[in-house]
Symmetry: D2
Subunit: 413 residues, 4 copies
């Protein structure tokens, strides 16, 4: 598949250490296997598409908070400003709503002072929100403001919107490079081995698991139940379980379980050890919850039933029935986890993602997000995100480590 | 008031740096004021009551978790074992229930290996629970096991039980020194300027406030509402508010507020600044909640109505009515806060409290808790705890600092 | 002793929760003892001396870094600006040198924007330096700039300079309130039970001790030797030793030791346990070092001989002589420790010190520092700092806890 | 190249999620490039070589401390004990010296109790040391103790020794599987994209850089100079520089610099900004230091000249010459950095490395280390470590980010 671009880059960039535009990385690398999709390697190019002195860029952050958003904003600006000498960088406020002038808030003009020290803070200095973008009004606005480059920091939905923006701009003959920086604290975007914010979230989750473990073992019959993020993928739950080594049951969306098997295994554990720690991803066990209408949030994500509260209730009911006294401690730390500052590794990752996004945009790439595959940054056409969603493989070393660290039995039968 | 004791201490302790048994510290020190109660200064005595080689001691931890419990257990043991060469130290398990043999769990024999490294962990290695002690069965058990010294680590209720244990033992002519280490994460026990665990809790609370602030300011209309511990006293909320400097409204039990005044002030803030952070102590505003039957928990504490959820609902209702969109983020971090390990200052405080408790017991004091007044450790007869409860003084510098740091208006009118 | 002041305060402050100007706190409180000095209680007064609208204040930070300097600057400004509505607050740059216009740097005009977020950073936004102030030129400058209030944040030397500034201003009939905020990471200023920054330093020191312990016990023959701050007082070393519980030998200035006794005790430990951790205050054992000329640093402090490197050499020499192989790991973390941000408790303490300093200055007090005695903030005439230096009492509970936590023998004989 | 093994694995493992023994991962993956070496994929096999019930394993940790050693020890044991039911696991003490019975210390028999909680501590519970192993005596010892599996946790030198052990055992017809877990805090081992401990070290290094920055900017003329680990590779310095964003000059072994160019650039910075932060890898600029005899440490590593102290001296000399006053703050935090506990990501990585090492050994692989290439765990024949050393590529995105984050000029000319 061709990487979408605005056309031939013709301006000599003058950069050092440039990356050849023809280098490709295969999707699959096991010897003998079909290589699958070939991705363009990201990085600065010898020739660029936009004349920096005449180019205005914009940045928008969308969806839920994720550690590292401010780091990405800051490094995007630094690379645009110092690396390419771009004329002006606008920060659209409050997510996609900020692209629509009807919503009021004027974009910020980003300066070195504006971004000073923001990488040490969680959240996003530009503000964020859920919800789609009005494509026509947004493109009107971008054209009127003379914005030729737009960085969209967000998840699947955000990037689908980004793609629509670039298509609409093309329809109107406005050269608009839209480059996405994939943001998913759940780490579940395809062709991105590790998204920024994910490991900061794991670190925070481990802190919570440690506290849940303390509560559980300090009270006879103590059960610490921790609901972690992970709508469709159990990476946070699995990563935190392996790092913590204190979890007895880890439940994730990719590995269905039977409620009776789980309760039986938990009861066995409680009778033997008198305390237990359970980590459950918010998307786990959805099939156990009674289906109602599939409500959706402002971003269009299916609203999940609350597996945490469901399990809490079922565990309490079960142990009451079997006459084993338990003391439940329920933790739902999502807001605490997602609003933490980026840890060191995510700080580094954010810087690399952001600078590669700038290189892509300056070279005229559009309709792409920056991916990270086999330890290389790549250009991923947004359309491919729909064909490959990333899930935790129950046959992988990670899941083997989860099973070994928890000692949990197979609860699927 | 006399400090209760088992009688004349006659055994030469051989200790250095002993404290004269006659030293007294007045309750009040402002020049010209009535000194009030005179408290015995705590510390090692030249003569002790118990022969270490023939004495067995016990430790019990009761009530909710509090940072530093393991530090106290560890330093009690170290001082008994290495400082006095006491014969044996038993750890009763699972709170007061563990004093009653009917509950099954045998006490642990504490050894240097048993306590290795426990001071770096939250919770209590002995386990804890709420609920009263069966005085008769407990004293039977203590007599049968030959326990002459019992350390009770817990709050008001625990210490009242401790007093009853000592009275019952006296009635039976069993010399039992019961010395309490006051445990209240809320910092609300009389004659104890600062209880262990309190500042660790403040530190954790500040982390949560910081996250709530991040959530609030990253979303247009963001309101971060954090419910903190403090059933009857606002010390955690006040301390965390001053240390954080990011809170806009702090609500505590000692300063009543009118709901309409508060909502009006919050609305004004939201219209001007578009985000806000609110810290509310769990015991604040109880008068606003409809009264039902005064339910009590297993420790006999009055069950509070949930001011956090009440405020959340009222705020959402109010802003819906006035047509100002807000995004609520509600945090209830109590379990996370109370299960953290002791920070450095609490680690130090725990060690001092514990060793002073051992000195008191060895000298034959009984029916006392270790207090900390005007920067000195003292012996506080348990009976005095009932006459003086500690509350945050709204005329104090702390509350002035809260008002200055938040800029909140007077919401009591 | 009278608290120095500029005269009768006559302007109604309009403040709530004011403190009566006549309240006094005695130096000593043990019942029966001579109360000693009576100190004025600090806090807002019903009547103030300066008309806020016509008053300009200045802030200067002097000497070595200490956690909390930025917090103090920030809270001084906030109380002056929002609490009293003072006209202008200047920040003199680079310590006392900044009071002298000959040194170039113009003072900063402090604004809410200037101080945003600085309390989360170590160091001082105003800069600092060692060295005395040229009294005449400084007072010239203060008069020319119309500064009537000056806050001096610094140690003994700084406060002696502060006193001279106020005396010189009085001589020239310029009403100048000079109020000091005592800054000593070593916690060794008289009439201040706890100085800001001290416990942040202890916390950092404990981290280093923990690492030294890890190094020592992971290597056969490992000795971790950590030099901590404390020129004349061992509070950091003692506090960190008790909090850490991993130190085997703590050496402080207040408790002299014989080198041969120490080496003998260390050898005994190494033969039994094969590893050891030593914490030594920089001012310990000075009598062991060969005396040269008493060199002084720019602040006039006597330059200490390096006890850390001396001990390192002596230990290596000794164990070579006795043929016991050891692996030395030497840590000198002073810069790391003093540049950390204030922890929560210091953040709170800084706020209270700063606001009490503003209240004192507005009431016309001068030539005083804010003290903290028996848990109350007080006004301490600067001249008294010379009569009482604070040292760790070897008969106190703290030193008893150090001896118990280390198990170290008496090395003074 | 064939992966060395002891022969055909014939025992049915009964494991789930096994990995096919024939899967290969190429060294190079860019499309069109020569794939280079093909590596065996690591993971559990359908058939294993050793009968667990009759097999005894040993673990040894060698060389300098590195975050995560205890995690590796613990997960090796857990997988051997619970995953395979191996009969006994011995922990050889104090590095390779512990393989030689002449050195005294008996190996520990590792049990679940022995390893409880060790993963939260830095260092190694088994002890470590530098220095080679006496191959003959070690193999004698392993044979006598009936050890058929040995895990060697260490760097290049350790793994070369490991290879010699396996060769000697083969010569004596003793089936010995030697599997290495590569340990290099510098992250400089070939075919291992990321070694455990590296990112924990970066996190600690960033803390130090933050403090150095605080010191530098709080003092007029302040220069913070931080020497970081990295004998031959600048990964720690580069990673910490990008994560910190506060460094002005980063110097690494892979990018030579001229002293005069560097000093000139530093002078320019000091004249403009009055403060600077410099991060220098210990192996940087070795060519600037006068060569003496190439001394070696006990592990046979070439002793480096101290570039940190050299630069400190040269900077002080230079600024004295040009008459610009500077205040130097020198930080050498190596012991602090390497003794920290593993952070969450390293905790996870350690678990995965350790369990893959156990799978390799049980399948009869020998003379291999576990590698991590293109996000997959692989078997790397030890002999290949000599042919490929890992260095930071100055043309890579990492170095581009370093240059962008520091703004440093090219100092090589």
């Amino acid at each position: 598949m061709e990487t979408p671009s605005l056309g031939q880059a013709t301006i000599v960039s003058g950069l050092h250490h440039t990356v050849d535009d023809g280098l490709r990385i295969p999707e699959r690398i096991e010897s003998g296997s079909d290589p699958g999709i070939l991705f363009e390697l990201a990085g600065p190019r010898e020739k660029i598409f936009f004349d920096p002195a005449k180019t205005r860029a914009g940045i928008v952050t969308c969806g839920g908070l994720c550690p590292g958003l401010n780091n990405v904003i800051r490094s995007l600006f630094l690379e645009l400003h110092y690396g390419y000498g771009i004329a002006e960088v606008l920060g659209f406020r409050g997510g996609y709503a900020g692209l629509d002038p009807a919503n009021g808030a004027e974009p910020a003009t980003i300066t070195p002072e504006y971004i000073e020290g923001i990488h040490r803070q969680g959240g996003t200095i530009l503000g964020t929100s859920r919800g789609p973008v009005d494509i026509e009004r947004a493109v009107d606005n971008l054209i009127r403001r003379g914005v030729n480059i737009l960085f969209t920091v967000g998840g699947d939905g955000t990037q689908r919107g980004a793609n629509a923006l670039y298509q609409e701009a093309r329809r109107r003959n406005h050269p608009l490079s839209v480059v996405g920086v994939p943001k998913t604290i759940d780490n579940d975007v395809g062709f991105v081995a590790r998204t920024f914010g994910y490991f900061s979230a794991v670190e925070e989750a481990v802190r919570v698991l440690d506290r849940a473990h303390t509560e559980a073992r300090s009270t006879p019959g103590g059960i610490g139940l921790v609901k972690l993020m992970g709508r469709h993928a159990g990476f946070i739950t699995a990563g935190a379980t392996i790092a913590s080594q204190d979890v007895n049951f880890a439940l994730i969306p990719e590995v269905p379980f039977r409620l009776d098997s789980f309760l039986e295994a938990l009861e066995k554990r409680m009778r033997q050890k008198t305390h237990a720690v359970i980590a459950v991803a918010e998307g786990a066990g959805q099939e156990l919850l009674e289906c109602g209408e599939g409500a959706k949030d402002a971003s269009g994500n299916l609203m999940l039933k609350d597996i945490g509260l469901f399990l809490k209730g079922q565990i309490e009911r079960h142990f009451k029935e079997v006459g084993v006294p338990v003391v439940m401690r329920y933790f739902d730390p999502s807001y605490l986890v997602r609003s933490c500052p980026a840890n060191c590794e995510d700080a580094l990752l954010c810087d690399l993602f952001a600078r590669h996004a700038v290189h892509a945009a300056m070279a005229g790439k559009t309709g792409v997000v920056i991916g990270f595959l086999h330890e290389r940054f790549i250009h991923v056409p947004i359309e491919l995100l729909a064909v490959h969603v990333k899930r935790l493989d129950p046959d992988s070393g990670w899941w083997r480590s989860v099973l070994a660290a928890t000692g949990q039995p197979d609860c699927s039968v």
